[in-house]
Amino acid sequence: MAELQELRVAHLSGEYEGRRIENASFQVPAGGRLVLLGPAGAGKTALLALIAGLPSAWGTGEVRVGGQRVDGRPAWQRRIALIPADYALWPHRSVQEQIRFGLARPLPRPTGEPSLAERSGEAAALWQRWLLQLDLEPLLNRYPSELQPDERLRVALARAMLAQPVALLLDDPLARWRQEPPRVWWQMVDRLQGWLASIEIPVVIATTNAQEAVRLGQRILVVGSGRGHQCGSPQELYFEPSSIWVAQYLSPWPLNVWPATVSEELSPQPTHLRLEDGGWELPLSPAGQKAIAAWWEATGQKQRSVLVGLRAEDLAVSTDGSSAPSVWATRVVQLEQWGWTTLLGVVPTAPASPAATPPATSPPPAAEREGSPALAPAPPANLAPAAAAPSPSTRRLWVLTSRDIQLLTGSTCQITISPERVLLFDPVTEQRLAPAPS
């Protein structure tokens, strides 16, 4: 049995098949699973190819397995198995031949490990284990063209694991299932989770799908435009995204990004901010206050423009007519009932500042009603829209709410959000504003 070692990648940069990756760093413990999450062309495959040391990938940086540098070695001496997205099952070989290829690795192993002859018993045990675990016994005499997609993945997995690698890399293994109905895809993620759970070596999986990443990975490295944006657990990435891009990529629902200002005029200390569209005010969390105060101190300016990120699922909707300063009066201009939830598009009804005064009072424009359900009737008298209509430049705030809420297009409601859930970003770099280290 090969010893279990961690995989550590540091400052890895390079290119593979025209895709670049810059300065990627992460660490995967033995038995751990890291997911590279990013859109197509982000550089995930390039990163995997650089780690595996494929001949057509070139770059710089460190790849360490168990503390030992392997980046200077060719692919066949690194023992980092890579399963490409199409599984690379050769058409002219049966399943048995494909799998045996993994088992019969002819090169001498590093000193201190048992020889090939000594490994014969171990090889037989491995063969039995993976054949049983992946249920490949009935498929041994078939050819790749006769296999179902999940069977092909199982064969590729068995071939890789029988080679006893020190780390396993999977390049978008479930891409094919994303074209299937969600139930089938969900089941396949389940099955892959089960298979990976029994693998004791570090596993790195590339995917474009955030749900897959959350389900398969213990940690996620978000990759975009050829660089690693942020690495962390799914919870860390969700609650503490490093940038707007990361926050948007991980959330299944729209992230409302609104420009806002924190100025001395609003409060002597940076305790509140004002959204530029709608003029709403919002209290800042202690962390946000620290971040802004540090910037005030550093620059000497008492006004700071920021971008505010409000997740649709973090906004709370009520219809009780309360009017606290942090409660925003809005009017529903779009209503999408999904069955298990309802997505609202709302705009401010009353300005909180003179700068954001709406131009006129009128019913909602026809263009805004187009998005509403066809069966939605005109709002009843008791839910008549407030007098304000949004100007064309007014942003729409997306709110995710309970499926039981009784709202119609044109009706009014109040929106609140906990200050802790407000994300602040730099308007230029779009990076998250983090509090200064104490």
């Binding site: 098949e17 190819a49 595996a52 040391g53 494929l54 001949p55 057509s56 060719p74 692919a75 066949w76 001496q77 690194r78 023992r79 980092i80 198995a81 890579l82 399963i83 490409p84 199409d86 599984y87 690379a88 050769w90 058409p91 002219h92 070989r93 290829f101 993994g102 690795r105 002819p106 090169l107 050819y143 790749p144 063209s145 006769e146 296999l147 179902q148 997609p149 092909r152 071939r159 890789a160 080679a163 690698p165 890399l169 094919r176």
Partner: protein, 342 residues
Amino acid sequence: MNAGPRGAASGTRTRNRAGKQQQRYHGHVAGSVLWWWGLALLGLGVGGPVLAVVWFAFVGSLPLIQEWPPSPLTRWHVVAAWRQLFLIHPELVAGLARTLFVALVVAALALLLGALAGYALSRKPSARLEVPLAAGRLLPGLFWALGLALPLMSIGLYDRPEGLVLVYSAPATILVAWVTRRLLDDLPAHWGESLLTLGWSPWRVWNAWTWDWLRPRLARLAVLVMLGIWNEAAIALILTQYRPTLSALLVRLTRLVMLEAGAGGPPGMTPPVLIPPGAALAQLGAAATLLALPPLCALLFLGRPWLDFWLGVKEPSMSAAGALGQPPAHRLVSTTSSQGEA
């Protein structure tokens, strides 16, 4: 009766089923008719000429028993035309040997150079090289012959098998390069690279996988090249004078026979070789069968994969469905039923 609507619905279903069965039946009949029609056409197109030349060779052999040459031929009367062909034209043996030599050497050269070029092109595509490749496939063979005849004359290779080898090698190499590249396009480079990560050296991966996959296909390609050279006559006619290949010899023989049969020609002109009357068609038939023998043997004995390859039929495992991981239809059905049972 409360069974009315149900009965009506069931009647609709029955009609639908009957309609589908009828459609299937008509489709089946139409398919059968087309199949037989296609078979008849193929029979006429391929079998007709073969039967014709063999018939003329055999029937033409019979009168030769009495007329020429005399008695020793009695045991060989069925193949008299073929025997006579070689007796009258002993250079046919030399032509046959020459053709085989040229075909083998060209196939070997083209395979070596073309496969290497094709491999290089598939792993590092170059748009500039596409043009010569396309030109090699589009330009007529005569162009190569005419373009190379003069240089060959100047270096003393005209009317020599070596000259023919040089001329034939150019388009054959391009053909092999082209086909090899297409073959390797089905094997993405990263397949081999991913196998490296399992611990095998590049040479072993190449030998055990790429070459193992490529070898039978290159063999089929080599046979295709050899058959092409065996069949080719136009270039051989131009580039040979006293040392013709088999096909060039047969073209000249045909001209002689036609002259003997009085098919045109200026008045008063006699054929240079006198052939006994009645033997002309038999000899032509015999010559034609000789020429058609290797391709016919290839057709009859080499099997489906060879024919599919020559006809450009995509292998099932390399079809789009295979590449995308789509299972064949019968597998889908069986899987669905087993899932249903589960």
